[in-house]
């Protein structure tokens, strides 16, 4: 039953993504009359502010039009404009158009880690796994301490069936920061109850969550192997444990809405 659910979800995702990607709209030069006679930085500031206002209220088409003003009319070389519009297009599920925007940003600034990372995430959604791999690899070339790059690359690795490789990447991510020592300190039985909770970037903790999932997948694989080998004679407790694990994936980890796991950085300057 659960397996059928997973299979139908796979089919649903595989069938939806290309359709969504095909709904891209042709770019037309918009009218951008506000502050038409003002300096470029004023006009850009206005339309970026407007676009973010629309984006935050869920008016994504209008937000796209605001950023169209920035990159199509006011300044086609304005990198943040492509980054911001790319994020909106991704929200609208215009995935290929979003990829194009991140590519434009990269062409203008080849050191922009967020652009490679976000494009990698989109390439995963488009099942362009080699392109995604190249993008995540590039983020780590540019910054070996870019933890999101390890996390995303680990997910890609698992997707390609290499769970051990994924775990290796997550272990590397953990080793690149001081998160392990922070964890050790928090688990220290001698730690005073009123000790201040340490400050750290929460992204550095994510490899642990992903590693938990990878290990659960390994466990489920072991259970399934056992059930396959023992058929009707399988120990009921193992069958029950396997079922509970699958339920965890569906209900507790909410992998049907797992956006909290795979990260795309919306802020081109927050690196």
């Amino acid at each position: 039953m659960i397996r059928r659910l997973f299979i139908s979800l796979v089919i649903a995702v595989l069938s939806i993504v290309p359709v969504l990607a095909q709904t891209s709209e042709e770019e037309e030069l918009p009218e951008c009359p506000i502050f038409e006679n003002e300096a470029t930085d004023v006009r850009i500031s206005y339309y970026v502010g407007e676009g973010l206002g629309y984006q935050r209220s869920g008016q994504l088409t209008q937000a796209t039009e605001s950023f169209d003003c920035v990159v199509l009319v006011i300044d086609p070389s304005y990198v943040p404009g492509y980054m911001l519009r790319g994020a909106i297009l991704a929200q609208r599920r215009l995935l290929e158009d979003a990829v194009d925007d991140y590519t434009s940003a990269i062409q203008l600034d080849s050191s922009l880690i967020a652009a490679y990372n976000n494009r990698g995430v989109l390439n995963m959604a488009l099942q362009e796994y080699e392109d995604a791999e190249a993008d995540f690899a590039r983020t780590l070339e540019l910054n070996p301490d870019f933890i999101e790059g390890y996390n995303n690359q680990a997910i890609l690795s698992a997707l390609n069936g290499d769970i051990e490789g994924a775990i290796g990447l997550l272990e590397t991510a953990i080793s690149r920061t001081d998160i392990a020592s922070i964890l050790e300190d928090l688990k220290d039985p001698e730690r005073p109850d009123d000790a201040e909770f340490p400050e750290f970037d929460r992204i550095n903790a994510r490899p642990y969550a992903l590693m938990g999932i990878m290990n659960s997948l390994k466990a489920m694989q072991n259970y399934e192997d056992y059930i396959t080998l023992t058929r009707n004679n399988a120990d009921g407790r193992i069958g029950s444990a396997a079922g509970m694990l699958e339920s965890q994936f569906t209900f507790e980890l909410r992998l049907d809405d797992g956006s909290w796991l795979l990260r795309a950085d919306y802020d081109p300057f927050n690196q």
Partner: protein, 240 residues
């Protein structure tokens, strides 16, 4: 097994941008702009979206952020004044309009909006003054002409009102508000003529084509059907 992995990872892969939608209900504050070298216009853009959505209090907050960033930025006062005016905070609106004009006396829209507020408050002289200042800067500004026509009409100066509204229509034939104003002025003139008929014909004088509201309806029918019967009722024989 591979299918399970494939499924959940693909589910993840198509959903990462959902989370930003959760920002929709976050209250507005003067955040650091998301782009480098942002000018106060950044907050104006956000504020104008709030106005468009009818969230005037949040718009005021956004415009205040622009003013906080640059207290001499006249457009922010102008926009905040408009938001205050819609919220019926007349004194704050007037203060901001005044400040906007003090900082930049060429902001035509500010004169127009302050004039509209003065009209609402019954200060017709000040309203006419503001619309006239706007027209001194932009003689063909249809909104200023239309609004001045409205004030003239309120004061019963229908000839001046018609002159302004006709000028507005000539200047901007696509500015539809002027046609509504023109119609209202003609309606006022119609009422004035009926009143003259009653005044001069006496209380029992019978309107030849019926009550004004019926005449209006009959003329509407006439224009659509070419039935000119209503006009015939207004003809009179010689010597009567």
């Amino acid at each position: 097994m591979r299918r399970v992995i494939l499924c959940f990872l693909l589910c993840l892969a198509v959903l990462p941008w959902n989370s930003s939608g959760a920002q929709a209900q976050v209250s507005f504050d003067c955040e650091d702009p998301l782009i480098p070298n942002a000018t106060p216009a950044y907050f104006l853009g956000q504020g104008n979206v709030f106005v468009e959505q009818g969230q005037y209090a949040r718009a005021v907050e956004a415009y205040s952020c622009a003013i906080e960033g640059d207290p001499s930025y006249a457009p922010a006062y102008a926009q905040r004044a408009y938001a205050y005016a819609v919220m019926l905070d007349d004194q704050s609106a007037l203060a901001d309009y005044d400040q906007a004009i003090a900082l930049n006396e060429t902001l035509v829209d500010v004169y127009i909006n302050r004039g509209a507020l003065y009209t609402t408050l019954g200060n017709f002289g000040l309203a006419i003054g503001d619309f006239s200042l706007a027209l001194a800067l932009e003689p063909d500004n249809a909104a200023a002409l239309n609004n001045r026509a409205v004030v003239h009409a309120i004061e019963g100066n229908y000839d001046l009102a018609l002159a302004d509204v006709n000028a507005a229509i000539s200047a901007s034939p696509d500015y539809v508000a002027s046609y509504a104003t023109q119609a209202a002025i003609y309606t006022a003139l119609a009422n004035q003529s009926y009143q003259t008929f009653v005044d001069r014909g006496g209380a029992h004088a019978r309107l030849p084509a019926g009550q004004p509201v019926n005449v209006m309806s009959a003329i509407d029918t006439s224009q659509r059907t070419d039935d000119f019967g209503i006009w015939l009722r207004l003809q009179v024989p010689a010597g009567q």
